[in-house]
């Protein structure tokens, strides 16, 4: 997406991308100076698109931002609010790395606009722990070594938290033999089917399933 990024903290990615952006600015500034005065208005019309003020409630804090309407919830979190826990894998709803909880339900933050979530209670991986006490799903991922590179992990953990709530509410899945049954037994087949929206490039799946099984049994 072509949009201006205002980053909060000096993350490694910000430094890398900042370097690239500087290069682009230098390259384009040369013809701009050489152009006649009439070109200035054309350049000005390509100025950043108008922004919208909005307040997002994230991890129990109200945060006010001005955003281009095109900004996805994921880009708002990562690029504007300094919450880089949620990851961008595919940006098209296919990998689950960007999973967050909205009013307790797991969604892909890359396929929704920030502006659509004013007034919602948004929880990211940064908001799961209570102080130094990890969320039971986080603790289970650590205990079971449910990751290798860790890139998919925030999405896996948020997704698992949402999924366990769905199972507690008795929601069936494609793996359930009888969709009318009132309750769900979270077998490994059920866990795998319910977590199929989260891809792990390192294929840490056996340990991810074990971690979620532990968290489900402990709950």
């Amino acid at each position: 997406m072509a949009e201006t990024d205002y980053r909060n903290g000096p993350t490694r990615r910000a430094v890398l991308e900042g370097g690239v952006a500087t290069g682009v600015l230098l390259a384009t500034s040369i013809p701009a100076y050489a152009e006649p005065a009439g070109a200035v208005s054309a350049a000005a019309s390509a100025a950043p698109a108008p922004t919208m003020p909005m307040t997002l409630r994230i991890n129990a804090k109200d945060l006010s931002v001005e955003l281009d309407p095109r900004t996805t919830l994921l880009d708002a979190l990562r690029n504007h609010l300094g919450l880089t826990g949620s990851k961008k894998g595919c940006d098209h709803g296919q990998c689950g790395a960007c999973t967050v909880l909205v009013d307790g339900r797991r969604i892909n933050s890359c396929l929704t606009l920030a502006a659509m979530h004013e007034g919602d209670e948004i929880t990211t991986v940064e908001g799961l722990a209570v102080g130094d006490r990890l969320h039971p799903v986080q603790a289970a991922f650590v205990a079971r070594d449910g990751f290798q590179c860790g890139y998919c992990t925030p999405g896996q953990i948020c997704s698992a938290v949402g999924m366990l709530g769905e199972a507690r509410a008795g929601w069936p899945s494609h793996a359930s033999a009888d969709v009318a049954a009132a309750s769900v037994a979270l077998t490994d087949a059920e866990i795998r089917e319910r977590m199929s929206g989260n891809i792990c490039r390192c294929a840490a799946y056996p340990n991810i399933v074990a971690a979620i099984r532990d968290a489900a049994e402990g709950a």
Binding site: M1, A2, A49, M52, D68, P69, R70, T72, D91, H92, G93, G96, T99, R105, R106, I107, N108, L111, T112, L113, A115, M116, S159, G162, M163, E166, A169, G170, W171, P172, S173, H174, S176, V179, A180, R192, E193, R194, M195, S196, G197, N198
Partner: protein
């Protein structure tokens, strides 16, 4: 993504009027299909009217004994509703066979019906595609077409409609309620909602600009056992190559009535009426299921890569009918 202006709709009528007022305006519901396509600049709306907060998120009993599903009911809520699970189990099965837990938590009933094709050339702006760019040609006809249509296609387009939910709804004779900018409402049988491509594949439905889906009504559940079966390249999180929704009502050894819809084979959920006629009154047997499958696919045409879909659809139909009868 091209830039756009955004507004949150205040009411259904106001939303319809706001879209009607601008030729390039669109409704946004869950956004899971529209934003995907906007990022690729396949969709380029200049104005978005957000209908996701409208109070159309309830599932209500109808006087006739069916259910009225608001356009904003999420796919996950519809699948999990106890009334749907017990009375329309194949609708729950179809919903749960589609997409992922995260996407179903966002996807709305109306957005699911109106999601666009997954034809890879529709997604690739460097390739000709009559649906994306009228008159540019169809790259799939001579190209990679293993996911494409075998029924109801045209020389202009062989794309399929990707929804699972719509296939179950077609088998259940769902009706679509809409509201237009002036506040008028109308009801469209689900079989008439999507157009076949003919010479104008870019026109996908009978809805007018600014006409908004308000609800989907399910008639009382028909007698008989319901089964939805989906065949795909992966066991989970993949679109259908072929799917079949079937309801079979038995009386002794014989089939009293059957309702069958197919997915992954056409530009709309495909009601297999010839197969239904073949089955009515027949003795429930593999021979009858084979006859039904032959009747359903009699007019099927392959395009090379998707030739396998014709025998696959027949086998899937036989197995789905057998499963529906077994436990009837």
């Amino acid at each position: 993504m091209q830039s756009f202006t955004y507004e949150r709709a205040a009411s259904a009528e106001q939303a319809a009027a706001a879209v009607a007022a601008q030729p390039d305006a669109k409704f946004i519901s869950g956004g899971t299909n529209l934003l995907d396509l906007m990022k690729l600049e396949i969709e380029r709306p200049a104005h978005l009217v957000d209908i996701s907060r409208l109070p159309l998120d309830r599932i209500e009993e109808t006087a006739a004994g069916g259910l009225r599903v608001g356009a904003q009911v999420r796919n996950s809520d519809l699948a999990a509703d106890p009334r749907v699970r017990s009375r329309y189990p194949m609708l729950t099965q179809a919903l749960l066979a589609g997409a992922s837990g995260q996407i179903r938590n966002k996807a709305s009933t109306s957005g699911n019906l109106l999601q666009r094709t997954r034809c890879p050339y529709f997604y690739d702006r460097n390739m000709p595609c009559n649906k994306r760019e009228q008159g540019s040609g169809c790259a799939a006809l001579q190209g990679f077409n293993r996911t494409h249509a075998v029924l109801g296609a045209s020389e202009a387009c062989i794309a399929v409609h990707p929804s699972d939910m719509a296939v179950a709804m077609a088998g259940l004779d769902a009706r679509i309620e809409t509201i237009s900018p002036g506040g008028e409402t109308r009801t469209i049988p689900i079989g008439d909602l999507h157009r076949l491509p003919e010479a104008t594949p870019h026109v996908e439905t009978v809805l007018g600009h600014g006409e908004m889906i308000a609800a989907v009504t399910l008639p009382p559940p028909p007698p008989g056992r319901q089964v939805y079966r989906k065949v795909r390249d992966r066991a989970s999180y993949a679109f259908a190559l072929v799917s079949v929704a079937a309801i079979v009502e038995k009386s002794g050894d014989r089939i009293r009535s059957a309702r069958i819809a197919m997915g992954g084979v056409a530009a709309r959920p495909w009601r297999a009426t010839e197969a239904e006629r073949t089955l009515a009154g027949a003795v429930a047997s593999d021979g009858a299921f084979t006859d039904a499958a032959e009747a359903a696919l009699a007019g099927a045409v392959g395009h090379g890569g998707n030739d396998f879909k014709i025998p696959l659809a027949k086998r899937t139909m036989r197995h789905t009918l057998a499963a529906a009868v077994e436990s009837a």
